[in-house]
Structure formats: C-alpha cells, structure tokens
C-alpha cells in the first residue's frame, strides 16, 4: 500500500508528509513531522493529552487520521508561544505550578487556548466543563483552573503582568 501525500499548515508553516491510512494525526505529528509536544496518553480520545486545534476547532489528534489533515490548518503546543515569549496561558501554568509530571500539560494548554479564543470570560464552571476531556492525575485540577482563570483575566487586560 502506497503512502498518501498530505499537505497541511502546521503552526503557521506549510508542511508536507507521507502517511499510511491507519496512522493518526498524532502518530504523524510525533513520528513523521517530529513535533513530539503532543502526547499519547490513551489513544482513544479520553485523556486529551494529544489535543490540537484543527481548522479552529479543538480535537484529539489521536481521533483524526493523518490523511484527513489534507488542506487543514493545525496548531499544536509547539505553535502556542511566540518565539521565545511564552503565551499567557503557558506563563500562568508556570506561575501557578499547574503541573507536576507535565504529561497532560501540552493538551491542557492547547485546550485552554481554544477555550479563551472562543470565550474570553469563562466562569469557573464553564472552564471545568470545557476541560473535562483533559485528564490530569497529578494536580487535582485546582491549580489548573486557577491558572486558566488567571490567564483569562490577563488576556482580558484585567491584571498587571
């Protein structure tokens, strides 16, 4: 079986890769494109560690085939910071120590970015429901939610640096 040629825009750059049908977008990102920030936790869409933004929508990259990425625009965790400058969501995760082992963190940061792009002023309840598909076994979520709410406030310009 020949591999399929796929062309997509990943983190603002045009990207081309060859993949087999059964390879997921996560497999392709990690093993073909070399972007290993997205993590494989469950490979069944339950844990959210592989979250990416696909054509403006938050998805699990383990539930998308690589071949389905043809012509799409994808943002991964590697595309969240502006060069060396961390995105406010990343900065707040650091400040609030909203991680321990860090395995879920890329997915949580991408999911939080997608939330705040869509809803800049979420309630804590809305944030918790939005992130229900991002499992973290270390933090108990409280620090995560504090970081998310603080990042939202900062992005709205309500806090100082």
């Amino acid at each position: 079986m020949a591999k399929t040629y796929v062309s997509a825009t990943i983190n603002g750059e045009s990207s081309e890769f060859l993949c087999e049908t059964q390879q997921t977008l996560l497999d392709v990102l990690r093993d073909v494109v070399g972007l290993t920030g997205s993590k494989e936790g469950c490979a069944s869409g339950d844990c959210g560690a592989c979250s990416v933004i696909l054509d403006g929508r938050l998805v699990c990259s383990c539930l998308v085939l690589g071949v389905e990425a043809e012509g799409t625009t994808i943002t991964t965790i590697e595309g969240i910071a502006q060069g060396d400058k961390l995105h406010p969501v990343q900065q707040k995760f650091l400040e609030h120590a909203a991680l321990q082992c860090g395995f879920c963190t890329p997915g949580l940061i991408v999911a939080t970015k997608a939330l705040l792009d869509e809803n800049p002023n979420p309630t804590e309840t809305e944030a918790r429901y939005w992130l229900a598909g991002n499992l973290c076994r270390c933090t108990g979520y409280d620090k995560v939610i504090r970081a998310v709410m603080d990042a939202a406030a900062e992005l709205r310009g309500e806090t100082v640096g």
Binding site: M1, T24, A43, V59, L63, L65, V67, Y129, A132, G133
Partner: protein, 295 residues
C-alpha cells in the same frame, strides 16, 4: 494493517461507487470518534475507509420547508453553536453536548452516533424523539428513512453496503413545541449512559399535550421509541397522574441488561424517573418557561 486504503470522494456518486466496489470491508468515516477507536483496538479491520466529509452539504445546517436539515457529518459543536437549532431543538442540542469531551464534540456527528448503533448513544434518543428523517443515499438512489429504522442491534444498522446517510431532516416546529434529553451517569461528564431519555412534545394553549415522542437509551439492544409512553402524555397536562403513568410506561418498555453500569432493576427504575424529569423539562420549555441546561 498496511492494506488499509483511504478515499475522500467529493460527490455522493463517487462515494457510493467506492463502497459498492470494495471487495472487503468498507467503512464510512464521518467524525471518526468511534471508528478510530475501533480501528486502534483491532475490533474492526476494514480494507477501505471512505471519508464523506468532502461531499458538498454533508457538513452544515440549513432551513428547508420550515424545518432544519443537518448534514450527516456536521460536528456536534457546530450544531451546539447554531442559534436556530438551540431554540427549536434544545433537547437534541443538549444530547450532543453530552457526547464525550469538547474535543470529541469537535468531530463527532449525528450520523456517526446513529450508525455506530450503540444502545447508549446520547444523541440517538433525542433524534428519535425529534422524529428526524435520515436521507440515505446508495446505489439504488435516495430514500428517506425514519431514524428509528436505522439501528437494528448493537453495532448493526439497516443500511446496505453501498449506503450512507447524507443528512437529517428535522420537522417544522409547531407553536408550543419543545424537547429535552437527560442521561443518568454516576458523575457529570465523560461517561456512558446508564439510561438516557429524550422526549419531544407539542402542547395546546392550556398546556394539554397534543403530540409526543418518547425515547429511551441503554435499556435494550437498540435505542427504543416508546409509543406507549407517548400515548399517556397525549391528551393530558403533566399532572401527577400523567407522570405516574409515564413512569410506568417507561419502566414497562425497558428491557435492559445488568452490567457494570447498573442492574436490570436499577436501570428499569431509573428509566421511569428520567422519563418524568425529561417530560417536566420538555413541557416547561414548550410553555416558554426557561430552564437551564438539563444536566
């Protein structure tokens, strides 16, 4: 594994030809939130995946003859964000909003949820209650099928090898009509229904029910459309007597199994409780009484 082929046809005709011409197992791909899991686990070993998402019209929502038409592969999140759908079919929208996570709702579709044919699928009882019609396309042309005739058993449908669903037609909503969906799980998110219940009603000026459809999930091999439960609503307001009869009719229709999510006795009792709660929400909504998300 490496013999798996992929095609993303851009017309119904091409998709039908691919499905019909496949010598092995061909699977239709919409959002993929079930299909990819089944591929990964080895439960399914197809030879061909036909991705329908490039077919014009299969993603999107439009109004036609006073009702909404929802493309078969439209992601749940798109339906949830549609003001017209949220106003006309809050029950169907809240059912979609219960499927998996934000991430899953970014991909999952009504057609996928229906054709995966799980008895516990969340959007399916709401779709049955809505009286949705599936527009099925295939080698013999196009046919319109009531959604409750699509699933035939767990993981099985009435669709032929070369058929797939193009879109769903939702009927026009008369005045004082609404719907609701609840599922019972031991937590609030990210779980599979112990029981699900969808109800759609139309009321007259006095709050008497003139039309109803009642559907139950996870209490039989397929989602059930329970005519006996609808019959106890029609001609009545939602008083204590009607609620008791609804509860009894829902319980009588339930033929669940015992598994890790609940016993036969538990599921049967919950079916009655959920039917009462869902009816109350649907009647309130039909009378313009605002209530929040049912869950």
């Amino acid at each position: 594994m490496s013999s798996l082929s992929y095609a993303a046809p851009t017309s119904v005709d091409d998709a039908v030809k691919l499905l019909a011409g496949s010598s092995g197992l061909a699977k239709v791909l919409s959002g993929g939130t079930d299909l990819l899991v089944q591929l990964r686990s080895g439960r399914l070993k197809p030879d061909l995946i036909v991705d329908t998402k490039k077919i014009p019209g299969i993603i999107g929502i439009r109004e036609e003859n006073g009702g909404f038409v929802v493309g078969a592969a439209t992601p749940g999140a798109v339906v949830e964000a549609h003001a017209g759908m949220t106003a006309a079919w809050p029950g169907l929208v809240e059912a979609l909003d219960l499927i998996g996570s934000t991430q899953v709702q970014g991909r999952c579709s009504l057609a996928g949820n229906l054709c995966n044919a799980s008895p516990a699928a969340d959007s399916v009882p709401a779709l049955y209650a809505a009286g949705a019609i599936a527009v099925v396309v295939g080698g013999k042309g196009r046919r319109e099928v009531p959604v409750e005739q699509i699933p035939t058993g767990p993981g099985r449908t009435s669709l032929a090898k070369d058929e797939f669903i193009l879109e769903f037609k939702l009927p026009p909503r008369p005045a004082r009509s609404s719907d609701a969906y609840l599922r019972f799980i031991p937590r609030t998110e990210m779980d599979i229904a112990v029981v699900g219940c969808g109800i759609s009603v139309t009321l007259d000026e006095k709050g008497v029910c003139t039309a109803a459809r009642v559907s139950l999930g996870a209490v039989a091999p397929t989602v059930l459309l329970v005519q006996a439960a609808a019959d106890v609503l029609i001609g009545h307001t939602l008083d204590a007597d009607t609620l008791a009869k609804l509860d009894a009719a829902a319980q009588a229709a339930s033929k669940p199994i015992s598994d890790k999510r609940g016993t036969v006795e538990y599921r049967t009792k919950i079916a009655g409780v959920l039917a009462r709660r869902v009816a109350a929400i649907a009647f309130d909504r039909a009378q313009g009484i605002k209530n929040g998300k049912a869950h």
